[in-house]
Symmetry: C2
Subunit: 658 residues, 2 copies
């Protein structure tokens, strides 16, 4: 039975596919290696209900088979796996003559190796002569929390913050350790704890008001090879500082940040650096002082450089005071327009963090044209695990399904998975006992870690893996896996059609509001009229931000992927789609289907009742029931909206309210 | 120059039209009579800059002309005005032989007489041999505050509460006295201080936690002949009480309320009674216990009856969880459906408080069909002075313009002004120095008092009177009066067209959101499609709630008043209106006109600059500027919405964004 709190690290006696040696020989005594050894012992206890004895050089009885844990370079028998290459944070695992070799390229690599070994063991993949080597595809594997110091979480749907409460740092250290373990087990190596919107008391996190406690948190994560970032407010020299300016070229401002860094690094010497949301949605930034984002980022970068720190600079910069009457402006163009001209102007410890799409974490957007366009600037991709626009962890929406598409997107020269060496994602965790509100949303956190570690994994493999680890290797897990894989297409079908985006309730971002953003300042319009809908992005010039190969595809409604058709084109309702039906009929069809698919998932879930822990069953069931109501609202409001707009009903005669 | 704080009781030396006697002879020494005498002396000081000497029986020198203040029945020279009739709270005023006779039918009447005398004097209406008698048309002239104990005001746009702050009763007693004076000067005789949504600590207002302080407030208002109501929560026996039920037929509940009343009346012996919002928008009520509203109201009525108290029971009861798909349900029918069947079932100290229209204080609604339908139940009408749907005291919207229409509405047997003997209104005042946020919104508070005192007054007379009192008898006042009179039609033109209602931003209720309520649970839909818009209220049966005479008018789009056309009918956009143009063209026309009229008011205001106190000028100017932006949004969003919906442009070729 699933214990929700344990996520994919369940205690469950498995059918062993190898003999587990009685002893584990641990070479090295760093904090991380020591943790890796503990994780091995605890993991074996979880899965095999035996407790391997830890041996070191002094205590070892070398004649018996063992599990050997250490760095590759330290291992006596490294010749055994000299055929297996591993890079930074990578590892090798090999089974030979009843010995288990688990060896890291470095400390972190060893920790990841232990977790991978345990996961493979739980999935029945470890056999005699098994061998594997892995190196993470990305060096930055970041989790961003949007936690506020009052304990609330911006776009959080799984309870309050694990770290903050009532303007204080308040945490349960056991829980933080458990959280760090979960993250390390999927390869996360960086974390930011506070919201990128750094307001009120959160501005003091970089001061001695909070640093001592923040350092205590950092120490817990450090044992799991996870380094902290801190989100900072660009205007900090003015507040909490007392300077009159935050101009990045002002000498006092430069000095202020250098002093700030020296204090911060005194407390947290391995701090990964700062994250900055500047000139975005009302936040302060270099534009206020007629400076460029390069000026702003480089100034901060020079402050943290002496300590090996880095600046993550978010590219979510756009005009959020747009006039809906203005058809020339196109918010989708903003990131490229703001950052492409600065390519090459950033210091080498600046990293641009770019949202995967040109808008904002919609259920379907094209990959941002800024990927592939930046040639001389370090940059990473930002994803969203928390389900802001994808169902608030009430609706099931298995996100690796979308991430797989993103990884495979060809920017023109390279696919994202070959091009991008770092990812950050807004996380979906909070104080709820199951961490993620919806228990099945644990798969999104798991999937994020897995796919950025190895972007060649597909959504299906990840679903199988997560289900097997969570529910055991059995038919129930297979069935849950098939539900997960249905969930994303279903959500996409019953919400905004064909990439049109932003038909969601303003502010809340859950449930339909078809014209909710239509006359707003946010720059996200569909301009549906009696004949047609969508923005012609040839006309706005957005299409030309892509490499020619992609521009050619996106610019032509006949070639454009159907799920992005209304992102790129303004089309009449009678436009004929690939299936020979009109756009309007396709809207009706997908919305009826999307609802039916939720109903089907709900029914499938009900059939699993007897195989599931009752609390898990009930809590997921109640969410499916709420999802069904939501899907019904979406289906009916979208269908009614277009029916009222066109006067044309469903060709199949299904009920559309008038 | 206007002193905003003083409202219509300005200190301004006027050109006197009579000689003011040196002395005022005061007969009677009740608290209210004493206050009336003070008001006379202060008023003469304000307007004539002299201080009449107060004389009583003992001190009088009877040979000189005087102002005579007292009850009609006490006056030595009552034969002088025996031709003038006055009922309860009424008065006579007569000028004869340089004597001024100001006589009340009762104490309150005398106070009102003094204020009317001063007002008439300020307007230059008092001459030799002047005589007048007045009796208020309504016996209940109520102000409802929707003030919360945290100091916020629900739908308040003029600063925080005058009475509450941080869950405490906190007030400036001088300010409360000034407020009571303002209210008494326009004839208000009842006030409730706390929000009808009685939540959290406000439930304790009927307990000794707050009663001592509440009694102190009551004492201030009492001097001005104003009695307090308290808004109570129907579920109070459960919370703050500890009973398991609030069932109105439960013996313990009945006892609980009787004990509650005995405590409350110990502190405030002349408390007017309780106000109750039950079974409304989530509030508790008798429906929860399968009881009727008569059961609920009568039970409370019997608790306050021994003390002469009354229960005001609000009729704002409707299903706020409506399904937009359901075309049979019609929220407009709710008040009638809920209360008409109970006619005659209420005790004689129960008063039903019915919102003027079937919806909720929209800029244009028909008068509720419940008026005229109730034959055997005391009932009063609820108006809204605070500009919830009428511009948030940012936009100028002179409400007596609408109230005049309401007063003249013929229910079938009688007009509202002849039928309704009590009014309540949600007030627009708060801690802002000018009381009402928008200085010109003082006219709405003034106008409410005046029109319910004398519903034969028209909006124009009231505007002239208010402007003369506020700005003096001069051309500036005339011009401001003409601006006031333009403001309501302008607001109506640029917002929801022809009585369609609820095209406003949900929740906030300021600014346009044309489909904002369209798929909501609130029951207020327009169901616009490609061809037509509106609800056919013949079909829902709403029209038949009216007397036949009115049903005949409202049911026929050719007879229905144009400003209510879309309240009652579903019509095609090409429906021909009285001016020979289509409905659609009329929508465009009114929206272009409404915006232009705001522009005109703004320009007119600018031309008054040199004649106005600069602070007043600037503060009103900045509101006109904000109003212009709002009017532009309304104009453009409404026009664009219908243009997109129909594909048909403006016949006059004005710019509509597509």
């Amino acid at each position: 039975m699933l214990k929700e709190y344990d996520c994919w690290l369940q205690k469950r006696k498995i059918g062993l596919t190898i003999k587990i040696p009685d002893a584990v020989y641990v070479q090295g005594d760093s904090e991380i290696i020591t943790q890796a050894a503990k994780e091995y012992v605890n993991g074996i206890q979880r899965l095999a209900n035996v407790t391997p004895k830890i041996e070191t050089k002094k205590t070892a009885n070398s004649s018996l088979p063992k599990a050997w844990l250490g760095l590759i370079s330290d291992m006596e028998k490294q010749a055994l796996f000299s055929n297996l290459a591993a890079g930074a944070e990578g590892f090798v695992i090999k089974i030979a003559d009843n010995n288990i070799y688990i060896a890291g390229k470095d400390d972190a690599g060893l920790l990841y190796a232990v977790f991978r070994f345990l996961s493979l063991l739980a999935c029945g993949k470890i056999k005699d002569n098994f061998e594997i080597s892995e190196t993470p595809a990305s060096s930055l594997r970041i989790i961003n929390h949007w936690d506020n110091l009052d304990g609330t979480i911006e776009r959080g749907y799984a309870g309050n913050s694990l770290f903050f409460k009532n303007e204080k740092i308040v945490y349960d250290s056991q829980r933080i350790e458990d959280y760090a373990r979960l993250l390390a087990s999927i390869g996360i190596n960086r974390i930011s704890l506070n919201n990128v919107n750094v307001r009120n008391r959160a501005k003091l996190l970089i001061t001695e008001v909070y640093l001592e406690q923040l350092a205590e948190l950092a120490a817990i994560f450090r044992r799991f090879a996870i380094r902290l970032f801190i989100s900072v407010n660009f205007a900090s020299p003015r507040d909490p500082g007392v300077l009159k300016t935050a101009d990045p070229l002002d000498a006092d401002v430069i000095k202020w940040w250098k002093e700030c860094a020296s204090v911060v690094y005194k407390y947290i010497p391995d701090l990964a650096g700062f994250i900055v949301k500047a000139d975005s949605e009302g936040e302060s930034g270099p534009f206020q002082y007629d400076r460029t984002h390069a000026h702003g980022a480089n100034m901060l970068a020079s402050a943290v450089k002496p300590y090996g720190g880095e600046i993550i600079w978010r590219c979510f910069v756009y005009n959020c005071q747009q006039d809906w009457r203005d058809k020339k402006a196109d918010r989708a163009k903003a990131a490229y327009e703001n950052f492409k001209p600065l390519d090459g102007k950033f210091d080498d410890n600046v990293i641009l963090q770019i949202k995967f799409g040109p808008y904002d974490f919609q259920v379907r957007e094209p990959v941002s044209p800024l990927f592939g366009a930046l040639k001389k600037t370090r940059h990473i991709m930002e994803l969203q695990i928390t389900q802001e626009y994808t169902g608030h962890q009430i609706d099931l929406c298995y996100l690796p399904f979308m991430w797989e598409d993103i990884m495979n997107f060809d920017t023109g020269e390279k696919s994202i998975k070959d091009l991008i060496k770092g990812f950050a994602a807004v996380v979906n965790t909070g104080l709820d006992n199951n961490w993620t509100g919806h228990t099945l949303a644990q798969a999104n956190l798991y999937g994020y870690g897995r796919i950025i570690w190895n972007p060649s994994l597909d959504a299906k493999e990840i679903a199988h893996e997560w289900c097997a680890l969570s529910f055991g290797q059995n038919e129930t897990a297979e069935k849950i896996s098939s539900i997960l894989l249905k969930s994303y297409p279903a959500y996409e079908k019953y919400t905004s059609p064909f990439g049109i985006c932003f038909m969601v309730t303003p502010g809340l971002h859950y449930g339909p509001n078809i014209e909710g953003y239509e006359y707003s300042r946010w720059g996200t319009y569909h301009r549906a009229n009696v004949k047609e809908i969508g923005i012609d992005r040839n006309e706005t010039g957005f299409v030309n931000q892509y490499a020619k190969k992609n521009a050619d595809i996106f610019s032509d409604p006949k070639k454009c992927p159907q799920n992005l058709l209304l992102f790129f084109h303004r089309l009449p309702y009678d436009f004929i789609m690939k299936n020979g039906e009109t756009l309007l009929q396709n809207i009706y069809d997908t919305h009826f289907e999307g609802y039916d698919e939720v109903l089907e998932m709900l029914e499938q879930w009900k059939r699993l009742k007897k195989n599931l822990d009752n609390a898990v069953y009930e809590s997921v069931l109640s969410r499916f029931e709420r999802q069904l109501l939501n899907a019904r609202e979406w289906r009916d409001q979208i269908n009614t909206y277009f029916f009222r707009k066109t006067g044309i009903g469903d060709s199949k005669g299904r009920l559309i309210y008038d």
